[in-house]
């Protein structure tokens, strides 16, 4: 593993909640709750967790795409651009817009619906380029797109099609191409392969990985599929109920998980050539608008103590490059509190 890499993206005590009103009643959904995160340059950071744990919301917050009903309740999101830390949550819309795509870009879930269905792929590329490059380059938009497709090894024919004519895997590769058009330093990918078949998923993941290697960029990949993380990620963060409960290298997560939730998660994964019954987590995931007190995992945790019910543990380093948020480590209660 490469050492001493600088963090390129950082959050400090980030809180982003959804506030919903239905007929005068207010509901607060604590989707991202006190998250501290560091993403290093030139790495693939995998963010894992079950549906409704807030991982997609965290990606939105990282992209500074906070629009009602999502609201920022505290904390900062910092980008490191040319050795300067910029807090994007306090930037004005125009300044933020300048960073989008050139410094950071975003691949969302659902390739079918993110491309305008009535415009050819090349027109979509043109629309995006028109807003981001100078007047001169506008005329060459098609040339830029073609060159980019060539670099990615995609067929130029694709530019002439409408989105619905492409297969799911091809469509998602087009969105990868769209997101990397301006060579951003950071690519945020939110469940980019969830709706795809395994073969197409493999194609997209391989493309993403090769681009990351070639341009030494950073990829933050959100997916619930631990198998995908095992293939592509360098470091993995595990999210549970709006919090990051464990961050470590891929090897540490798979070989030596420390948080009880991660242990369950890794152990419950089906593996080939092993048909033994796998143990699963008891109970159900908590609802984000009705969180339990203290550590959100304590109702399902076999090691829960009175302390866990009372107080929420901080995420601290317990080994080299291995952080967890748990009072119970290796059978011992954590001393600091």
């Amino acid at each position: 593993m490469k050492k001493n890499r600088m963090p390129v993206l950082k959050t400090e005590q980030l809180k982003a909640f959804y506030v919903l009103y239905t007929f005068g009643k207010q509901t607060v959904i604590k989707a991202v709750n006190n998250v501290d995160l560091e993403v290093l340059e030139d790495e693939v950071f995998g963010l894992a967790g079950e549906s409704g744990c807030g991982k997609s919301t965290l990606i939105k917050a990282l992209f500074a795409d906070i629009n009602p009903p999502l609201r920022l309740f505290g904390g900062r999101v910092l980008y490191r651009i040319k050795d300067q830390e910029i807090n994007v949550t306090s930037l004005r819309a125009q300044e933020k817009q300048k960073l989008m795509w050139k410094f950071i870009s975003y691949i969302p879930q659902g390739s079918m619906s993110i491309l305008n269905p009535v415009r050819k792929i090349k027109r979509t590329f043109k629309d995006f380029l028109e807003s981001h490059v100078g007047k001169q380059a506008r005329k060459e938009a098609l040339e830029i797109a073609k060159k980019h497709f060539g670099e990615l090894g995609l067929s130029l024919k694709v530019l002439e099609y409408y989105p619905h004519q492409l297969s799911g895997g091809m469509r998602q590769r087009v969105t990868v191409a769209l997101a990397t058009l301006l060579r951003p330093k950071i690519i945020l990918a939110d469940e980019p392969t969830t709706a795809l078949d395994v073969v197409a998923q493999r194609g997209v993941i391989q493309l993403l990985k090769s681009l990351q290697k070639r341009w030494n960029s950073t990829v933050v990949l959100v997916t619930h599929d631990m198998g995908v993380h095992a293939h592509i990620a360098d470091r993995i963060g595990i999210m549970y109920a709006g919090k990051i409960v464990e961050v470590a290298t891929k090897e540490q997560i798979f070989k030596n998980p420390l948080h009880p939730y991660t242990k369950f998660l890794i152990n419950s994964l089906p593996r080939f050539k092993d048909k033994t019954i796998r143990e699963t987590i008891p109970g159900n995931p908590p609802l984000l608008f009705n969180l339990p007190s203290g550590c959100p995992f304590h109702p399902r945790c076999p090691h829960a103590t009175e302390l866990c019910v009372r107080q929420d543990p901080k995420c601290i380093e317990v080994e080299e490059s291995h952080k967890i948020a748990c009072w119970w480590v290796d059978g011992k209660n954590r001393e600091d509190s």
Binding site: F63, D65, K96, Q97, K98, M100, W101, S105, Y106, P108, G110, S113, I114, L115, N116, P117, V118, R119, K120, R123, D127, F128, E130, S131, H132, Y162, H164, Q165, A179
Partner: protein
């Protein structure tokens, strides 16, 4: 040629089917009228004091029946109806005997076409543009616009027409109260006549546009609301595509597609709309002609106008349907 096979031919089949049913309805409906046109006419002759000897009466009745296509059994009448359709001859009008029906329609049609198709298309374009922009940008002005539309939208056209007539005709007499051009004027291409036609047309056109825009503005706004929630719009927004590009190429372009169908429906209402407009403003179009025909039980004229409107409406809907794949690529390859 997938377009011809999977789109054009089925549409054409559907078109002819609807045309057939609609025209059959046109044939059936007047025959349900309680007034026998022939007896009406005889009665009318007699009230003018003309004496018709009984042996001639039979002959006159026969001639009239033939003239109105009422001779023979219902089936014979029906085949005769289609024969008349294909030759384009609807016979003479009763009320304005012996002017042929086709001539009457031809002289009134330009007024209706000029007023209604222009206002329909015009209000559609305004509604799509204003509704699209207001629906996307949602500023304070958009809210005020919305409130105004919420007040206008539920008012039926007829009430609206009367309100406008009272307001701009009686209270502030800006425009003439009725007619197509000044009384006793002959149509000719000079500046004065054209000015006059425009002046007479303004009030009916204004009411049609107000109501038309309010109706379609509402639908456009609803469609825009769902389009702006689509993932591709949100994605484009999040990645910093310029608002102007999103408004026109994403929102309006995509919301326009269902609105094209709406335009087709609006054409369907043209003749019903013409009837009321032209009556309130005594505008000399087909609607007024039709109303008079109904009142006077003018068989041939009613049929002529109904046939004409059915064909015109069905054809305009077909035309829009065929146009649709050009604007929506998803249809083309289905």
């Amino acid at each position: 040629m997938a377009f011809v096979k999977t789109y054009l031919i089925p549409r054409l089949i559907h078109y002819f089917l609807v045309l057939f049913l609609g025209l059959t309805a046109v044939f059936v409906l007047p025959r349900l009228m309680p007034l026998d046109p022939v007896e009406e006419q005889i009665a009318q002759y007699q009230t003018f004091g003309a004496y018709i000897p009984p042996e001639q009466l039979e002959q006159i009745i026969n001639t009239l029946r033939e003239l109105y296509g009422l001779k023979g059994t219902l089936l014979q009448q029906y085949t005769g109806f289609w024969r008349r359709l294909f030759t384009g001859d609807f016979g003479p009008s009763l009320a304005q005997y012996p002017t042929p029906v086709s001539e009457l329609i031809a002289s009134h049609l330009p007024w209706t076409i000029g007023l209604l198709s222009l206002t329909t298309v015009f209000s559609w374009i305004i509604a799509v543009l204003v509704g699209g922009i207001a629906g996307y940008y949602r500023g304070r002005w958009a809210e005020i616009l919305d409130d105004i539309v919420m007040l206008i939208r539920p008012i039926p056209y007829y009430i609206m027409a009367i309100i406008c007539l009272i307001f701009f005709g009686y209270i502030i007499p800006l425009f003439p109260l009725g007619g197509g051009m000044g009384i006793g004027r002959e149509f000719s291409f000079n500046l004065e006549t054209i000015r006059n036609i425009l002046l007479h047309g303004t009030l009916p056109a204004l009411t049609l546009i107000i109501v038309g825009v309010a109706w379609q503005f509402q639908s456009m706004k609803l469609i825009v609301q769902s389009v702006r929630a689509e993932d591709y719009v949100r994605y484009a927004e999040a990645t910093g595509v310029k608002k102007r590009i999103i408004a026109f190429r994403y929102i309006i372009r995509n919301a326009m597609l269902p609105m094209v169908t709406q335009l087709g429906l609006q054409f369907g209402f043209i003749f019903s709309g013409a009837l009321i407009t032209e009556m309130v403003f005594t505008y000399p179009g087909v609607g007024l002609l039709l109303y008079n025909a109904v009142v006077k039980a003018d068989y041939n004229l009613i049929m002529g106008i109904l046939v004409f409107s059915v064909v015109a409406v069905a054809t305009s809907i077909l035309f829009l349907d065929l146009l649709y794949p050009l604007v929506d690529p998803r249809i083309r390859y289905k």
